[in-house]
Subunit: 205 residues, 2 copies
DNA sequence: TTGCAAAACGACATTAGTGTCGATATAATT
DNA sequence: AATTATATCGACACTAATGTCGTTTTGCAA
């Protein structure tokens, strides 16, 4: 319902397609979903879909970008006001608003893994993944470093190295979560182990 | 060159195809390699290849099985004679013969990730992955448990939980290794962190 | 040597997905 | 109401891969 439409409508349509795409990506994973799946979920014709996104990769990157933005906005809110210490801040960054381990995992995480693993031999995709990694790395490393300079944390370990280890462990959790049943991953318990390790490494509490 | 051949020859041919397949899987990854790639690398015709393996999945599982066998044979040798303590045994299991972190990684690891991640919605593939996980889990958990019962290790942590954490971390390393450049993963340094954590958790040295 | 069982071959039909493009329908403008 | 720009449509051509099958080749045994 809509030719020669307002910018508003175009934007809405795009958002609808994106939402539909996200649904099917979560359901089938990146590699197995086809443009046809998206067409059907979004109730758009082939031509219609291609007007907005010229291929699957573009579609997925739009979702990634949107998610990144949303998450960074969400945590931004908590940043200035509700942070008591660097330890608290670190917990916020790792576990989110609750500051403690839970059994939740981003439903898009398995698709993300596919996206970057399979694209690892593609120059563009690799660069993109690396950029995201650097971002994540900086977020953790900055907090740790600040805490160390502040004296709140021990500087026994290099801040950047610790940040890498955190990411590695979280990546491992995402991976195992993607391929194993709940009772094998035990997200919450395993996250608690990460917590214990960090307490030891930073000498807090 | 060989119809109505000896069993020996058949076995050799099969092994050659597997070796060729392994080469191309390492090069292109699981998803991107096609039967044609394998045909060319192994210098076998389409029909010839399908005589031995009726699809890519079967081919890959054969490689997985072979590798598993080979690794378990290798470590088996060290088991009875050259192990000084459970800590030593644990290091052997994690880092291999050298007992210490290095920058090596199974070249097939990225393909393995693809294989199990993309197949996560396939019943058969999922079961298979889970079985392999249970195997790996048992290997670590048994050593830790024995060490704990022996008094060599602290039993502060549950042996199985620790084993899970080890696997998670190693999986994370494999993942990051697959998609990031060497200088971002820093396999050796990150493995050292795992080592430090284990020393703390098991209270050794 | 010769004959044969079956290994190896490669053309082919089939399937599944992609991106394009001319036709169609309609929201906004006049 | 008529016009028009363009969003949307869906048929289509194209590509890439798969697995099959009739044919050819050849190692081995008689």
């Amino acid at each position: 319902m809509s030719p020669k439409v307002s910018k508003e409508h175009l934007k809405q349509r795009r958002a609808d397609i994106l939402a539909a795409a996200k649904t099917v990506f979560i359901k089938h994973g990146y590699e197995r979903t086809t443009m046809k799946h998206v067409m059907e979920e979004a109730k758009v014709s082939r031509g219609g879909l291609y007007q907005y996104f010229s291929n699957k990769e573009e579609l997925y990157e739009a979702i990634l970008k949107e998610n990144l933005l949303q998450v960074s906005e969400e945590t931004q809110e908590f940043l200035e006001n509700e942070v008591k210490s660097y330890w608290d801040l670190l917990l916020l960054r790792i576990f989110g608003e609750d500051r403690e381990p839970d059994d939740e995992m981003d439903p898009l995480a398995p698709s993300n893994l596919e996206f970057f693993i399979i694209g690892r031999n593609d120059e563009r995709r690799r660069k993109y993944g690396q950029e995201r990694y650097q971002n994540g790395l900086k977020i953790y490393a900055d907090v740790i470093k600040a805490g160390q300079e502040n004296g709140e944390f021990s500087d026994r370990y290099d801040s950047e190295m610790l940040a890498r280890a955190i990411i590695t462990y979280i990546d491992g959790l995402a991976l195992d979560h993607a391929i194993l049943p709940e009772q094998d991953v035990q997200l919450k318990e395993q996250s608690t182990i990460l917590l214990e390790f960090l307490k030891m490494a930073l000498e807090v509490e």
